[in-house]
Every structure is written in structure tokens, then in C-alpha cells.
Symmetry: C2
Subunit: 288 residues, 2 copies
């Protein structure tokens, strides 16, 4: 297992972590001057500055991506809705390619309309069929341009509105179905926040193997957790044994970045951005 | 599948549903006069009135139990703590026996101390070992007095502080390990709120079979859900396809009560108790 205690060369910052404080161009600058080598930006943050502008800033700063957030949101209640989702995913693949991302992360979507508080139906099996079909169609295009897709299983508390892929086992079953040869074109993003509770986690990480372990996200589960979405903790402040999970990832062959992704409306989003990044660096060394 | 639309003879009320409004003796009276034939009371509600008093009131009202809430909370950070948990579970078994419950429901516990905001460690595997050992010890006693134990897998969002058994598969693996002959002494409580998201739910319900399906709890998952603990919905107000899940239960041989268990700080606990019970009856007929 790699020693993270001496430097932060394997630290990446998911830019949602400081999205409230700074626009993306500033985030790139602030990360670069702290020796942070990689980020994972969100599409809306890129669009706010301009794709080509961000691509140039990344090149100028020598900044890599650890992933691109995000494709997915496949389920819809109409054929037209499903087609729009596929179009949007194709654009996300193109953007990821322009930014030289190692993978496009997929948050696959839940029941259509649920995120707006108006679910079109209650058939989670149908939503999962939409997801499988959507990934299959997107994969055909992503493969043609050489952009790996990383399915991110989300915590079951997001099954209704954000992602109906909720365990690593389920994500890997999709990988087996859609890319049985494990070509590297389809894999998973393992976020400790979403999967730490899973009694099958160690076995499923081993099953995934290096070819399918495309991203590793960290933050922490707080007790108590006061909000389902925006109460994630800084690594070390909660109950997830992050080094143990990282050990399983590395035993399986993962050797990439450890990406910090913290949504924290009442704590970290209220602090000065530099303080947040400095905390990420310190905790990367002490608690990841 | 049984037709629930014409009457509510298979409705049971988990007494937490109206715990804010009424003490347990009043709950028994209010349920009885509405033709509700079964309840599942909590230990603290029983203790507040007195065990023998409640036992007599139940007999006088001809009221059955659909379960008794609850045993469990096995993990501890000391040998003494684990011993105290076993003693407490033995008392819970005795109370369940006095009340003629069909099963004692086990909410198995999470990381020791986490429920008080002070987790003693981050080793969920160790907590799971405590749980297995605690159930094994309690089962030996429960078997001797003829009280079935129902392991309730809780939603993964409670893994840290309430229960580190989080899927039906995991609960059934415990049943296989501790009661391989499926004697009926150990089974599961299936609460749709905790398991509805699980892609393996149908298969695991079938695996459980009638001998291990000891209880069926219903409420609904709201979108959005505003609180991790106390924002459960009335059946029909959320996104869970309850009839589909009940169908799987009945295909597997379950023929017992459908027990309504709603924790709702901002809605149902603020309404008059009679209105809540009447809504349970109506929704039992239309949405379960």
C-alpha cells in the first residue's frame, strides 16, 4: 500500500468540494499553487467558464483530471426523454475527451422526475432497465472515442432520486453484462461514502480488479448525519475506515488518485476555500 | 395474493406510529375499537404502563402482537458491555413471551457508542462479529423458551449507529450460519423502508421462505426525504411499490400481518392519533 503520509502527490480534488467558494478557474489556480496535481470538475462549473478556456488552463497549469463529473441520469418516462439523456451523455463524453479525463463518471439516475419531487412512476426495475440501456448506448459511443465510463454506485439513500445502482456488486454485474471482456472501456468509481457499509465490499473490490477500478473517492460518514445530501465529513472526522478500503483497492491493483469529494452545506462550504484545500492535504496524509 | 381492499383484518400497528400522541394503554383501546387486531409495541412503551398491566389489557381486548420491539444493540467496546447487552436481550425475550409475541424483532446495533455521537471504533467488521455472537447467545435462550428472533436488516444509512446488518442477504446469511436447519427459531423482519432499494430483494425474499419470513413492515419512502430517521411516509405517499413487495412475500409463503411503522416528526406525529389510525386503515386497503 502506498505511503500517503509524506506528500500529497496522489491527492485529487473533486471541485464540488469548494464549489461554493470559487469558480473553476480559481480552483485550478488554488490547487496548482498547493502542488495538487489533479482535479475532477463538474460540467456546470466547466460550462460557466467555457470548455476551451478550462482545457487551456488545465494544460497551462500542468493539471490532470482524476475524472469528469458527470454523465448518467438515464431513466425517463418518455422515449423522447431517454433520447435527450443519450444526447446529453454523448456531449459529456466529448467534453471529457476535450479535457483529457481518464474517465467519465456516471451517476445513473433514479426514478424519472423524483429529483424534482414528482416521480413519474414507482418501478425501480424499469428505471434499472433504462440505466442498462443508456449505459449500453453511451458505451458504444464512448468506446469509439476512447473515453472509459465509470459507473458510480450511490448509497441506497439516493436510490429514488439520484442513482438506482446502489452496490458495487450491482455495478459490476452491469460491467459484466455490457463489457464482458473487461476491455477497460467500462468500470466503476468507488466512493467510500456510498459503499463503506457494504458487507460484500472487500470481495467486490477484489472482483472488480484493476481494469475496472477507474476512480476512488473519499470523504467521511458523520454521526449523526444531519442531511441526506450535503452533510459529508472531512476524512478522519467520521466512522469510515478509509485506509482499510484503500488497502483493498490497492491490493486489487488500483494505483490512481484519491479524490476528495465533500458536499457540506453547514461546515466546509462555509469556510474559506484555502482552508478547505489545506485540510484536504493534511487529512489525505493522515487519514486516507 | 390476499385482497386487502375490502377489510383490514391483516393490518397491524407498530405503536411507534402514534407514540407521540398516546401512551400504550390508550393505543390498545383506540386500535381495538377500530377493529385493528394486532399491534407491535416497544419496550419503553410497555415499561411505562407496566408489563403485566399491558399483558392483561391485550388479553382483555383480544389483541394480538405482530412482533415485539425490540432486542439487539449487541456491539459494545468492552466485555462488560457485551454481557450487559445479552442480559438485556434475555429480558426482552422474557417480555415478548409474557406478551405472547410471535417474534422478538432485533435491531442489531452498529458501531458501539455511535448512537450517542461517540463511536468507540471504526471497525464495522468487528461490530458484525459482536452481532453474530450476540444473536447466537440470545438464540440459545430464546429457543429454550420458544420465542423466535427476527433479524431486521436496516437501511444502510443506519449502518453506523443503529444496525450493521443492512441487507436481507446479509441477514439470511446469519440465519444460515446460526440456524442452518431453518427451524423457525430465527428469521427476518422485512421492512419495505429498509430494503425497497435492493436489487436482490425479490431473490432474497424467495430464498428466505415462509419459515424465515417472520414479519412484514410497511411505510413509504418520501422524495425528498428531509431527515434520516423521522421522515417516513404513509403508504402511498412515496415511491415504494409496496404491493409488489407484498406479492413477493406472499409468493414465498408469508401470510401474516402487514405492520405499519411510521416515524414522522413533522407530519404524522403532529396529527391527532385517531386521524393517523384511520389513515393507516385506509391506506392499508388502497396502497398495501
Amino acid at each position: 500500500m502506498r505511503d500517503f503520509s509524506r506528500d500529497h502527490r496522489w491527492l485529487a480534488i473533486n471541485t464540488a468540494t469548494v464549489r461554493v467558494q470559487w469558480p473553476l478557474d480559481r480552483i485550478i489556480d488554488e490547487c496548482a499553487r498547493r502542488g495538487i496535481r489533479a482535479i475532477s470538475p463538474w460540467r456546470d462549473q466547466v460550462a460557466a467558464i467555457g470548455l476551451d478556456n478550462i482545457a487551456k488552463r488545465l494544460r497551462d497549469a500542468g493539471m490532470a483530471l482524476s475524472g469528469y463529473c458527470r454523465g448518467g441520469m438515464f431513466p425517463a418516462s418518455t422515449t423522447e426523454g431517454r433520447r435527450r439523456a443519450l444526447d446529453d451523455n454523448r456531449r459529456a463524453v466529448d467534453e471529457a475527451k476535450t479535457l483529457n479525463a481518464p474517465c467519465l463518471v456516471l451517476v445513473v439516475g433514479g426514478l424519472p422526475g423524483a429529483l424534482d419531487g414528482a416521480p413519474a412512476h414507482k418501478d425501480i426495475a424499469a428505471a434499472r432497465t433504462d440505466v442498462r440501456d443508456g449505459i449500453a448506448a453511451t458505451l458504444a459511443y464512448a468506446r469509439s472515442v476512447g473515453m472509459p465510463l465509470a459507473i458510480e454506485p450511490l448509497h441506497p439513500m439516493y436510490a429514488a432520486d439520484r442513482a438506482c445502482v446502489n452496490t458495487l456488486e450491482q455495478a459490476l454485474d452491469l460491467c459484466d453484462a455490457l463489457d464482458p471482456q473487461a476491455s477497460g472501456a467500462l468500470g466503476v468509481a468507488v466512493d467510500v461514502y456510498h459503499v463503506w457499509w457494504d458487507p460484500k465490499l472487500q470481495a467486490q473490490i477484489a472482483r472488480a480488479g484493476a481494469r475496472r477500478l477507474l476512480a476512488f473517492h473519499v470523504c467521511d460518514w458523520l454521526v449523526p448525519t444531519r442531511d441526506l445530501l450535503n452533510d459529508r465529513g472531512m476524512m478522519g472526522d467520521g466512522v469510515i475506515d478509509i485506509p482499510r478500503i484503500r488497502g483493498w483497492m490497492e491490493e486489487a491493483g488500483f494505483a490512481g488518485y484519491s479524490e476528495v469529494e465533500i458536499f457540506s452545506a453547514e461546515n466546509w462550504w462555509k469556510r474559506e476555500g484555502g482552508e478547505v484545500l489545506d485540510a484536504c492535504i493534511a487529512r489525505h496524509r493522515s487519514a486516507v
